[in-house]
Amino acid sequence: MTSYRLDAGGAINRAQALTFTFDGQSFKGLDGDTVASALLANDQMLMARSFKYHRPRGVVTAGSSEPNALLTIGSGLRAEPNARATVTELYDGLVTTSQNRWPSLKTDIGAVNGLLSPFLGAGFYYKTFMWPASFWEKLYEPLIRRAAGLGKLVLQPDPDRYEKCWAHCDLLVIGAGPAGLMAALVAGRSGARVILADESFTLGGSLLSENVAIGETPASEFAKRTIEELASLPNVTLMPRTTVFGWYDDMVFGAVERVQKHVASPSPDLPMERLWRIVAKRAILASGAEERPLVFGGNDKPGVMTAGAVRSYLNRYGVAVGSRLAIFTNGGSGYRTAADLTARGIKVTAIIDARQQAPDLGPDGVRVIRNGAVVATKGRHRLESLIAERAGFQEVIDCDALAMSGGWSPIVHLMCQRGAKPIWSEEKQAFMAPNVGGAFVAAGGAHGADTIYACLRDGAAKAAAMMGELGFSAYQATLPEVEGEYDPSFAPVWYVPGAKDKAFVDFQNDVHVGDLGIAQREGFRHIEHTKRYTTSGMATDQGKLGNVNTAGIVAGMRGVSPAEIGTTTFRPFYTPVSFGALAGAARGEHAAPVRTSPLHGWAKKNGATFVESGLWYRSAWFAKEGEKTWRDSVDREVLNVRANAGLCDVSTLGKIEIFGAGAAEFLNRVYCNGFLKLPVGKARYGLMLREDGIVFDDGTTSRLSEQHYVMTTTTAYAAEVMAHLEFCAQTFWPELDVRFVFVTDEWAQMSLAGPKARIILSRIVEDDISNVAFSFLAVRTVTLRGGLKARLFRISFSGELAYELAVPAGYGEAVADAIMEAGREEAICAYGVEALNVLRIEKGFVTHNELDGRTTADDVGLGKMMAMQKADFIGKRLSTRFGLTAADRLQLVGLKPVEADKEIKAGAHLLKENAKPSLANDQGFVSSACFSPTLGGFIALAMLKSGRERTGEHIVVWDALRGAEVPAEVCQPVFFDPDNTRLHL
């Protein structure tokens, strides 16, 4: 047994044992363990295989930067790949599985890649798999993906719930180590609203892992007491298990809280994870510092880990990672680890110090090799010994684990996500946090503070300063004394040359020093190019450990300072975030809000099939028994409207009420046709242009009283028209007294169309609605039998005698039912938007199929509506531009197939007869097409070059997508009742 649980110590609950499995084998861990600490306690050092060469790997760290120990946690639908064992909280019954190995972790066939490695260096794929190009997608990529890779996704739907949440605070403290705790305490006691977030399940950060005394108590005890005090303050919110992953505009931070990831049987009432958007007036980054690995031959052997990680496992989890450890260090951290180990009776076989001279002293009886280096490691599935070199002499050092320390880097990721680059400090030999303004500052280790006392002091000072800025009287904290600190200074050693085995820089992507050299030689010298060429820093850990060494090594190869090399770009997310958390509750039918009409229930009970139209669900057709296809229903509905009557839900059309003495003038300016003289009690079809002369939207506007109108818009453009009206009123013509309000939702509106519409309606409405009393385009408030007030409009979108009846939404279903009942003898039917569409195509009425943002009023045959004699209207000036008046523009025409049973499809393009099908010969396109049951054949509306003068010409409808060519005849766009006799019945 080489790694094991010590008999005492650690912030773990020894009374609570947890059972879990790894690759099917059952192990025991303790409450407070991570998967990594529990595996180490069970002498399971080998945890993974590397990405490319399938080399055996163990943990390198004890935190979120872990590159190696990626496992699949959970099973079945809850299996989650690529979880870092070092931060995954252990729970009873947890199932964990290793990845990227076959047939087993110990015997992995893929390890043959290691033997082929001379051929698999950086750039190998780019150069090798280039030809033939068609092989990439079909052969090369799938092969490479199978050979190299990470865990596998579960492709079934996620069984868990997720949600998103907002939080607001005066101060957000990111990280609950010494600096963060002190900052939160100062701000909390000053009375500010504070959020303290930390990615770990236990707050305390490095205080849990470092063997010092603060105010005469152990550091972990100090952390516990401080957290208890923070928890007692009502203005402080503690958020453990919460990773702040991104910093966004306006001081909004993104964070993910793992609510139930650590729970054996998750509650169905709680989300698995919760995504937070935290709006903070001020924020302190107290994310600490990362210890750098050293780059030497065989530095990826299981058992080689950072000195700080060794201390974490020892002090926080009570785990010895080996029985005989060697230390390789360039600073004080290695000596502290040696001291902590020997104090717990664990043998340290040698301290190999890269420095010639150092102030640090090893523990009694431990050999210190100064100016030394590790040049090779031995052992297969874990370290068995190493070869150290000093002044050209090599010797074998016995050890089963190696603690390495290459110095420290502040964790500045979040502060660099919005464009600022970290700044190289010669003094600290590290990339430091940039100045991003006073609202967000780094404190403690993240700011380069290198002792716990310095962290406590920096956190307190930064928070106190911010309290002053926010107008709180800052609490003056008394800093406790810290005893037993060590000097963490270091002298950088970027890598140890002359190694036979690979010296890894990026463990997760298997990038070694040799790869960086190839990139430089091949000209990929900029650090961003080096990254792309070698994939260094491109893995799921985004180079948290390796990037600084990459910069240092590349700097050395080029003979410049790391300041000149710089870093690659930092982007959210700090650590991976699940798609479930990002989606929250917005999935499946809740992906977007659902909008239903007041007549939804009526439509449903009449057998409607619904179609999504924007957010609306509109009734598309009403299938009757025996109807096999949608066309059967639509044909019947159309014929019935033309012969008898039909009722259609038009509630989704936008409705805007317009008030004011300036309303008439206002409408006259926003519509291209005249509106000044519209009398009270009348509706008028209006066409709105954009400023550039292109049609914007259409609809009817009715004058209800002298200074009161109601406008209808298309369903799709309701919000846009409302915004347009407000914009015009507020910025163009503030002198006009006019106000608007959206009333779309207030009214259930139904269109009753067909020759029998009046008879049916007269059974519902008390008022006289004869053709004389209520002529075409009349509008009136009427009383329904029984007393309900309603708005009645005599407008038609079908070419038939038709009315639109608007009643308060809550009565919609009852009124529609009453109309259906009243029209039973006349064989009334419900009809949907599909039939509505056929009816309007037969009449040549345009919709946004034709008003598609490219057409002018003249293009769609409505040129005469433009009242050019008006002083001005929106679109008037630019509608006279040459391009918009050219004779060869596409113009609205009708099309009939030469052979009546041939179908014309919308979207197909138009060619001259005998022209070669090609876009160069393109003459236009089909905008709307349908089968007309009234005419017994297919018809279409189309936009055709100079179309109006081509009536009678035979053209070809070319549907390249479906490979069809249909000869068709150009005709007038009005197919049915061109004289509108039926409207005025």
Partner: protein, 183 residues
């Protein structure tokens, strides 16, 4: 023939699933509130605001510059309309059927609403009596604080089902119940 027309609330089907009494966290839907959009014409905003503050049995919600919602759970539509239209410089549009009024109350109400709106509802920031238009469950809504732990939400009718479902889903961990106010 006189028609016997039944008024139907849009949330009738959605509320069916809730039985039994109200929990501490409860969402109540007002069945027939009277709601009007009130618009002040140019130059009249100040006067109209003052006059609205004096209206009886009518709660006033701020929607934007020169625009309010007038809400009453006690007065009839005609009474409300008469009071409001007596104010000079005002235009009115009834929205009693176009808007759905819900009250959400209970000890966890802010924690539930934090999942629905982006606005800070801390009492120092959004005090009792305050109201504003904001997005609630991805839908434009008017939110008012009517008590320390009570808020009223007004949403467009067509979106009410969607908002109701999301509110109750977000309230699930706090055992939120729902009913019509008169139930």
């Amino acid at each position: 023939m006189a028609l016997n027309l039944l008024h139907r609330h849009v949330l009738e089907d959605h509320i069916l699933g809730f039985h039994g009494g109200a929990n501490p966290n409860h969402l109540s839907v007002v069945r027939r509130p009277v709601i009007f959009s009130v618009l002040a014409h140019a130059g009249r905003e100040g006067q109209v605001r003052e006059a609205l503050a004096k209206a009886e049995d009518i709660a006033i919600r701020a929607c934007g510059p020169s625009e309010w919602l007038a809400v009453s759970q006690t007065a009839g539509a005609e009474h409300v309309a008469a009071q409001l239209s007596a104010i000079p410089g005002v235009s009115l549009a009834e929205q009693s059927d176009g808007k759905v009024l819900m009250a959400i109350a209970g000890p966890s109400v802010r924690r539930i609403l934090a999942k629905c709106v982006a606005v800070d509802l801390h009492p120092d920031v959004f005090a009792e009596g305050q109201s504003a238009n904001m997005m609630c469950c991805h839908v434009v809504a008017n939110l008012a604080r009517t008590g320390a732990d009570t808020f009223e939400i007004i949403v467009p009718r067509s979106f009410a089902g969607s908002v109701f479902e999301e509110l109750t889903e977000m309230g699930r961990e706090h055992a939120l119940t729902a009913s019509f106010l008169d139930a």
